[in-house]
C-alpha cells in the first residue's frame, strides 16, 4: 500500500506541474485591423445617470463596457476594481458603463447598495445586448477604442486583473 501512495504522489505532482503552465484569460489590445465594431445599444439607466445610456453618446472616447450581475461572484471584486480605474482615468477621458444582466432589477439595486460605484449603470433584463456582444462568461468587459471598435475582451475576474486592464486603457488613451 505504501508503494501505491508513492505512485499517487508522483502522479499528482506531475499533473500539478502541467497545470501550472496553463494559460490565463488575458488578451492584450488587438490591432486596429482585426478589431470589430462594437454593437450599438440603448438601455435604461439605473444608477449614476438619468434616462437612457447608449454607446453612440461615447463615440470619440475610449469606452469600457462591463457586463455584470448580482449573482456573479467575481463581480464582487470586479466592480470596485473597475470603479478605482474609472475614478483615476475619467479625467483623462475614459468612459465606463456597466450593464447588469439581472432579470429582476431589484437584485441589481441590492448589489449596488453593497458595492457602490460611480460610473453609469444600465440594465438589460431581456438579454439582447449581451447576446449582441456574444458574452461568454461573467463578468465580461469590452474595451472599445475611439473609433468604436472592440480592442480587448476580458472574461472573468481575479484579483490583479485590473492592472492589465489599466495598462490597456492607458495605451488606447494615447491613440
Amino acid at each position: 500500500m505504501l508503494n501505491f501512495t508513492v505512485y499517487v504522489t508522483k502522479a499528482l505532482g506531475g499533473l500539478l506541474v502541467c497545470i501550472l503552465f496553463s494559460a490565463g484569460v488575458h488578451s492584450s489590445p488587438s490591432s486596429k485591423q482585426d478589431a470589430l465594431p462594437a454593437p450599438h445599444f440603448s438601455l435604461p439607466a439605473i444608477a449614476n445617470t438619468e434616462g437612457a445610456i447608449s454607446l453612440d453618446a461615447f463615440k470619440g472616447s475610449v469606452t469600457y463596457v462591463d457586463f455584470w450581475a448580482s449573482w456573479c461572484g467575481p463581480c464582487r471584486l470586479s466592480l470596485p476594481a473597475l470603479d478605482a480605474i474609472y475614478r483615476d482615468l475619467a479625467p483623462k477621458g475614459l468612459k465606463v458603463m456597466a450593464i447588469s444582466v439581472d432579470v429582476v432589477e431589484e437584485d441589481a439595486w441590492d448589489f449596488l447598495a453593497r458595492y457602490p460605484v460611480t460610473y453609469p449603470i444600465a440594465i438589460d433584463t431581456e438579454g439582447s445586448v449581451p447576446k449582441a456582444y456574444a458574452v461568454n462568461g461573467m463578468p465580461s468587459g469590452y474595451l472599445i477604442d475611439r473609433e468604436g471598435r472592440v480592442r480587448a475582451v476580458h472574461v472573468g475576474f481575479k484579483r490583479g486583473d485590473e492592472d492589465a486592464l489599466r495598462a490597456e486603457i492607458l495605451q488606447l488613451l494615447e491613440e
Binding site: 501505491f4 505512485y7 457586463f67 450581475a69 448580482s70 449573482w71 456573479c72 461572484g73 444582466v101 439581472d102 432579470v103 438579454g127 449581451p130 447576446k131 458574452v135 461568454n136 462568461g137 461573467m138 465580461s140
Partner: protein
C-alpha cells in the same frame, strides 16, 4: 496497480452484471447530452442560487458523510475516501 487489478476482477464479477448495465446507460446518457439547448452565460443567474448547489456546505457534507459511513455499511458516492476513524 494492485488496486487496479482488484477493481478489474471485481468489475467483471457476475454480481455486478446489472450494475454494469446501469453504468453503461448512464454514460451513454451523458454522451448524448450534446443535443441540449445551450444556456448563455448571462442566463445562468438561477443556477447560482444557494439551493442549486450540489451540497449545502462543504463541512455539512463532510459531517454527514462521516456519520453515515460510520453507522451504515455503505460509503462513497461522494468521491475520495477521507481518513478513517475508530467509529463504533
Amino acid at each position: 496497480m494492485h488496486c487496479a487489478l482488484k477493481f478489474c476482477s471485481y468489475w467483471r464479477s457476475k454480481r455486478l452484471e446489472a450494475f454494469r448495465f446501469v453504468v453503461l446507460c448512464a454514460v451513454m446518457g451523458v454522451a448524448g447530452c450534446s443535443g441540449l439547448e445551450p444556456v448563455a452565460a448571462w442566463e445562468r443567474g438561477y443556477l447560482a442560487e444557494e439551493g442549486m448547489q450540489w451540497q449545502s456546505s462543504a463541512r455539512e457534507a463532510k459531517f454527514e458523510g462521516h456519520v453515515y459511513t460510520s453507522k451504515e455499511a455503505s460509503s462513497g458516492g461522494n468521491g475520495a475516501a477521507g481518513g478513517g476513524c475508530g467509529c463504533n
